[in-house]
Symmetry: C2
Subunit: 199 residues, 2 copies
């Protein structure tokens, strides 16, 4: 797992192939993604691709897993004692920043049952329910505030947290799915969410 080394990496190295594949996935889509196009964009030869990744699917899996790396590396920990607006601002910004890159591979994996199964297996083995635990964490914090009377009583705070995360997913996905359309800004969504929580 030597992911870095001294000096300029060789032109046809693993990283260039990985980056070129991600960019083509994002710009053209997976349907007409060929190893020839990848080689051209990476400035290498097709032979190198198969030397490094053995198969086209192996390369695609590597690209998918790289884009999900922030989720794997994530250390889930308590949200601390910062003011709620700040917590939700940072949380939603982090989620959307991750999704900006991840949707490309999440959508690409939908094109093939095997890729999708591999994606799900990878998440199960390496991400250990982190998306859900993020929602749980926010929910737990809201529950504490609710107990302290700073969040209105009578609402299921974990379901509320799911609503907030949903808006992050849709905001990032919508331009891809149905084209450019108006969506409330993230800050406005967080603001409205806070107002709906107030006692």
């Amino acid at each position: 797992m030597t992911t870095s080394r001294r000096g300029r990496p060789p032109a046809g190295g693993r990283a260039q192939i990985l980056d070129a594949t991600y960019e083509l996935l994002r710009d053209k889509g997976i349907a007409r993604l060929t190893t020839k196009d990848i080689a051209d964009r990476a400035g290498t030869s097709e032979g190198s691709i198969f030397y490094h990744y053995r198969t086209r699917d192996g390369l695609l899996s590597a690209v998918i897993e790289q884009a999900l790396e922030p989720l794997v590396a994530l250390r889930v920990h308590g949200v601390g004692g910062a003011p709620l607006p700040e917590i939700l601002d940072i949380f939603t910004a982090t989620v959307e920043e991750f999704l900006d890159r991840a949707v490309v591979v999440l959508f690409a994996a939908q094109a093939d049952v095997d890729l999708r199964a591999g994606l799900h297996a990878f998440l199960a083995a390496n991400a250990d329910r982190k998306p859900q635990r993020g929602v749980e964490l926010i929910g737990d914090h809201l529950a504490a505030l609710q107990a302290a009377g700073r969040v209105r009583a009578g609402i299921d705070v974990h379901t509320a947290a799911f609503l907030l995360v949903s808006s992050c997913v849709l905001r990032v996905s919508q331009p891809w799915l149905i084209g450019d359309t108006e969506v409330p800004a993230r800050e406005a969504t967080v603001g409205t969410f806070l107002a709906m929580l107030a006692p």
Copy 2:
């Protein structure tokens, strides 16, 4: 546009090809979708496919547009005077029922820039912002209730409506994107949403 005729349609007709393509898209994905597989599943020959749809892309576009048909046919109208819980229940159920079928083609279209561009153009030309107008409509109804004091003051009701629709999209998409995971039931989400709106 003769979509029906007397008697049993010929085995290799347009409809069978369309259905077979949708099913393969849903079950296997677009990446390895071949006209041969489509012909086999439809019980027809490849020749018939190209006779009816001229090109593979033409067929795919037809499948996409058929799955979005409920959106095109939708007549957007006021929500009437039913109780809010009932309105939101019916609204979210309708949205998710549509998405259950639509995500298959919405995701498939992400595999190719041309397909995606075609999808966006089709929606712009035939759906006339109906997704957004659905959100607006719920928002407008909430605004009226807010003016009547039955929804708490100080919240942006249109952003709130966006939160609710987001949860529908994520609930339907999540099994595809990250695999089977716990998600709050639709009824629970609507219930929590209502509780957050109460004055």
